[in-house]
Each structure stands twice: as C-alpha cells, then as structure tokens.
Symmetry: C2
Subunit: 367 residues, 2 copies
C-alpha cells in the first residue's frame, strides 16, 4: 500500500475555518496528531517545533503512531480525516535553501550541451558536491500556480522567459540545528526527512545572469515541494554509486545513504521521464558534510536539494533542457504535440515511490 | 553629533537577566522603546514586527521619538540606559540574504586580477546588478568571533583557508513584504533601513568551488552586521553615479538613491582604506527592482547587500584581495608589519558615517 504503516509522512493540514496543524498521512486520510497524541507540538502550523525535538523523538513518535493506527480503534475512528476535507499547506518554515548538483549524468549532459568541444565535467565536480544557496522565501507547496517569470534574456532585452524548465529533485529537511564554527554531526541526527522538489528554472534568464556569481533570478521565482515529508526511517537505503577519486576524509560516506527511489515526471498527464535516484553520484550525507565543513551552522527548517536527478538513459533525464537537448530535439507527446520548454497552461507533476511507498507529488501549472 | 536626533538607529538590546527588546541609540545611551512609547511591538526580541508596520509607522515613530527626546524630561531620565549596561543582539531575523556586486571599481579590479588579458567587466555587468543568495543563518552581529574556515583549497587538499578576506558593504533591510508573482513597489515603501556588512570571504575555497553555480562555502561561514539599523530617513541622499548604457525600463532609478556615506576599514586599530559609497554603480532602488523583477516575493527581514564598496583609488578598496592585489603587493601597516590576507588574531572593524551621523561599526576578530 502506497500510504501504509511503513510510510506515514508528515504534513500540515487544515479544515475549513480551522487553524493549520500537523498530521500524518495514512491511506487517503490524515491523522490529526495534536488530537490523537495529545501533544501541543502538533498544534503548530509547521513541522519545525516537532522536527527540532530530534532523532529519538522522531523514532518514538513514529512507533507510537504505528501502534495507535494498528490497535487503537478510537483513534482511527475519531481523528482520521478524509483528504478531500482538508487543505494542505507548506509543511515547514524554510530556513536556508541550498541546491546541489549531484547527478553525474545531469552535470555531464549540461556540460555537453553548453561546451560540446570540452570535457563535460568541470575540474571541481568529482571533488566536492557543487552547490549554491537559493531563495527560501519562494519555496511553495505543491499546487501553487507558477507564473512565467520575466527577465533579461540577453543584453538589453527584458521579457517573459521562453525557456521555462523544470528540475526533478529530492529535498532533505533539517530538524536538529548545529553550532556555528563546527561541522555537523551524523546525517541521521540532523536530517528529519525527504520531500520531492521541482526547482523551476528559466534557462534564458539564468544563462545571461549566472557569470560569475551563479544562478539568481533564473531560479528564485518559485521552487515547489511536496506537502508530505517522509521520515528517513521510511526510506529504503542502498549503497551509494561508486566514486572515483575516493572523496577526502570529511566527505567519506557515513553508511548506505543511497536511496532506492524512482521519480516520475508527468507533463499534462503523460509520463515523459523516470529519473532513478540510485544513479546519483553524491549521497545526502556527503551533501550535509560538505555544507557544514566550513563551520556553517544548520537551523531547523534548512532544506537542501539534490539537484536535478538524471539517469544515463534519455528517458531518465530530469529536466526539459536535457530531454529536448536545449530545444534542438523536441519531446514528442502521445497527444501529437511536441515540447521543448514549458508553454502556458502546461501542468507538470512529479511523483516518487520508494519500495512501493509513495513520496507524494509536486504539481504546478504555468500561468 | 554622531548619534543625535537626526540619526536614531534601531537595535535590539538586553540588560543582564532581562529579555532582549528594541531600543534606539541616542548618544552613548539606548532608549528603551517598549517602556518609553508603551508599545508592545518593541518588546519583541527583533525589529521584524515593527519593520512590518510600514513606511507611515516608521515615519511617525521616528517623529515621536525625536519629540520625546527633545521635550519630555521624564522619558529621557527614566528610559535611557547607558550603553555599557547593555548587550547588543542581532537586530532582526534575517529572512533571505542576497549579496550584490554593484561597485564598478571592485568588479573591474577582480576582473583585472583574475583575467589580466581580458576585458575586466563581464558582458552582463553593465546590464543588471549581478547578485546571488548567501546564507541567512550565518549572519551574525558585530563582535561575534570569526573562526577561520576550512575547505578544499584545490583538488584533493582540505585545510584552513590561507586567503581569509573581508568585504566592506552596506546592507539594506526589508520591512514590508511583496506578493509572489509581481515586482515590488517603490523602494522606500519596502526598505526600512541600512546596516554595515562585513562579508567575510575565503578566497581559496571560493576559487575552487565557484564554477558554475557561484560562491558557496567561501562565504557561508559568517557574515557580520552592525547592531544598528539606520532608518532611510536619516540618510543623506545624492544622485547615483551616471550609467552607460541607460538601464532598461524596469531598472530605471526611482530618485536620488545614491547615498553620501563613507566607510572606513580598520585593521588592528589602523585605517587601511576609506571606501566611498557614492562611487557605486548600481543604486539600492535598482537592486530591489532587479531582485523582484522575476516575481520573487520579499519578506520582512530580507537583507540585500551592495557587494564590496571600492572607489577608484588604491586607498579606497574595500577588500584585502584588492588592497594586496591578490597577495602580490602586501599592505604595509604602521606597526611595521605587512598583510596580504588575514592572520589569526587580526581584528577588522568597519565604520561608516553619513553627513556626520555614525552608522555604527562591525567588528570581528579571527580565531
């Protein structure tokens, strides 16, 4: 079952006229946690206070919910609310948002598109997980309409982007802060769970602006996430992809933090790609170690995303710029239409599953 | 007088055993605003709730404080606290932090240092204010010790930065949010005031990591700001520096938002530079217009900084990489010592004045 006892992702919901509060998804229902567990931490309009409690509380709460849902008839009867009666909100307050660039196939494809005569990977790529800060204030929940951004498409030309794209990613949500001046501790002590991310990108704005300080307005107009945060405990772990050269000591893997997750990219109701997360080169424990290796502190609500997930096959690419090879090789849809980049009215849906458990979906329609 | 009735910057202070709250600096004292004005908004531990009230409230409050300080003996006697009795805190909760690159002389110097045989300015530089997102969670208040960051200095080498640098900047603090999907309104409707910023930079970490997504760990370990936020009304405004080519319509200047401010860079008690803010190319109204031109929203507490302030003269450069020409031309100090980049134990102090009014200082000592 996609939303069974082995899944149980957390979100923030409200019924009409009521304040948003924390719930857990079970089947096609939401368990009202403040009511079911008599714990005020779940009456908050975001997951942050609960996430700040730490690893032991996360584990114990999950076990308690599993027990109540299995055995306690009064809980399931009184506090399970059908999904169609609730509205889902942004599940946590985003502190800092960092976006990485961890797919070998994605980085290689981008290199081949923009520098066809050179080595696809830049010299630093195999030595550290390249990343940058994005805009936390424009992280929005699934379903939020995406307005096509305007910007300088080239020198002297301002107008609506004609290369609006998606990036299918996983996002990791920090629960437990770390101190300024020291690297963070173990990955599973800090990171609460995983969400799906669509990092909308305006390729024309980005390509004029990004030298030398990186992407800015080409990304900052919107980043959509799933309303559900799946706890780490629910994820099937596998070894990470082999790395060459061996990473430096501070970037050595902490365990099997490869994740057996497959993403689906749907465009107007049709699957156009199935990016496989096991193909990622840098694992999330390495991202976290890198992020704090200079002494930068973590806060509850920090979000760091994997960067576009792309596998080696064409039908595994996680962005339109790769799928259409920068517009030169349009995607043919079953409807008979073709696409290079997004058109007004297009709806993109990302879905993901991990060993049969759903990670929810991220939907956005371009206006 | 540096801290007179025409200045009156806001900060957050506490006395021993008391909760932090909002005050205004007057001379060498802090006016306890919650007590003096009987307004609970100033009992908050940050300026954010007051800043969210908007332009009219900012103006009226300032006028009221000026009146009380001039005429109301009971206020000045009962609610002015000597600075030596208080601790100063980070004055606001930072939402998103953006760092721009608005000095023509700084950008040209960096271009000459790293690309001596090419055009110093990159093709986009005169068409838009180049910027990127920094780490909001590591913005710290003046006086916070700066721990020398470690990082990958080149492929396969991890260790403490040997090129630890400063950047002398002005920061602009947003009070009034804007809606997702539309450009922000007038600069003075959104921006509450100005602070001094030292954007500490590890040049070796930065130069290995920054391609193609921009600076990350070379900057994210710490950014120091002044404890005082000077309201826009207190700043002497002058026309911005001429621009060629004429900026596009959405980047046209909204008025005289050049600022007549001079910064001083002190190293271990000695002035090493006097960067002049009037030499900046892009003005802060243009930065704000650019930042939201793609529809990105603003939040109360957003901080955007000017980038390093450098004038055309050597003694006006706002970073050590410029002052020492990337280490090739060491700075000679009056003590007989020389410096290329910062050594352990060095103390850097930024100070600024605007028509005789102090903008406070930003101090940091390298550990």
């Amino acid at each position: 079952m996609s939303w069974g006892l082995d899944n149980l992702p957390y979100g923030v919901f409200s019924r009409r006229g009521e304040a948003p509060r924390v719930g857990v998804r079970y089947g096609d229902q939401v368990l009202d946690l403040a009511a079911a567990l008599h714990d005020e931490v779940f009456a908050a309009p975001s997951l942050n206070p609960f996430m700040a409690r730490g690893h032991t509380a996360w584990h114990d709460t999950r076990a308690l919910i599993q027990e109540k849902l299995s055995t306690d008839r009064s809980v399931t009867d009184a506090h399970l609310i059908p999904l169609e009666q609730v509205r889902l909100h942004l599940p946590f307050e985003v502190a800092d948002y960092v976006d990485f660039y961890c797919s070998l196939d994605h980085a290689s494809n981008i290199g081949r598109i923009f520098r066809p005569d050179a080595e696809p990977l830049l010299p630093n790529w195999r030595h550290l997980p390249v990343g940058y800060h994005g805009r936390a204030g424009t992280v929005v929940v699934s379903g939020t309409p995406i307005r096509r951004p305007s910007g300088q498409l080239r020198a002297g030309v301002f107008g609506p982007s004609t290369k609006l794209d998606i990036e299918a990613e996983l996002g990791f949500v920090v629960g437990v802060p770390s101190e300024l001046g020291s690297p963070a501790g173990a990955f599973e002590e800090h990171v609460f769970g995983v969400t799906l991310v669509n990092d909308w990108s305006a390729r024309d704005i980005q390509s004029f602006e990004y030298v030398p300080l990186g992407p800015f307005l080409g990304k900052s107009f919107a980043t959509s996430i799933s309303p559900w945060i799946t706890p780490l405990e629910a994820l099937p772990r596998i070894p990470g992809r082999p790395q060459e050269p061996e990473p430096l000591g501070h970037l050595r893997r902490q365990g099997d933090w490869g994740l057996d997750i497959t993403v689906e990219v749907w465009l107007n109701g049709e699957i156009v790609s199935r990016p496989p997360y096991p193909s990622m080169y840098w694992t999330p424990d390495q991202m976290l170690a890198h992020l704090t290796s200079n002494g930068a502190s973590l806060r509850t609500g920090d979000l760091f995303a994997s960067g576009t997930i792309s596998g080696p096959q064409r039908e595994e690419r996680g962005s339109l710029i790769e799928l259409s090879w920068n517009g030169g090789d349009p995607i043919k849809l079953a409807s008979g239409e073709t696409r290079t980049f997004l058109e007004d009215g297009d709806t993109v849906t990302l879905r993901a599953t991990a060993a049969g458990r759903s990670l929810g979906e991220v939907v956005g329609t371009v206006r």
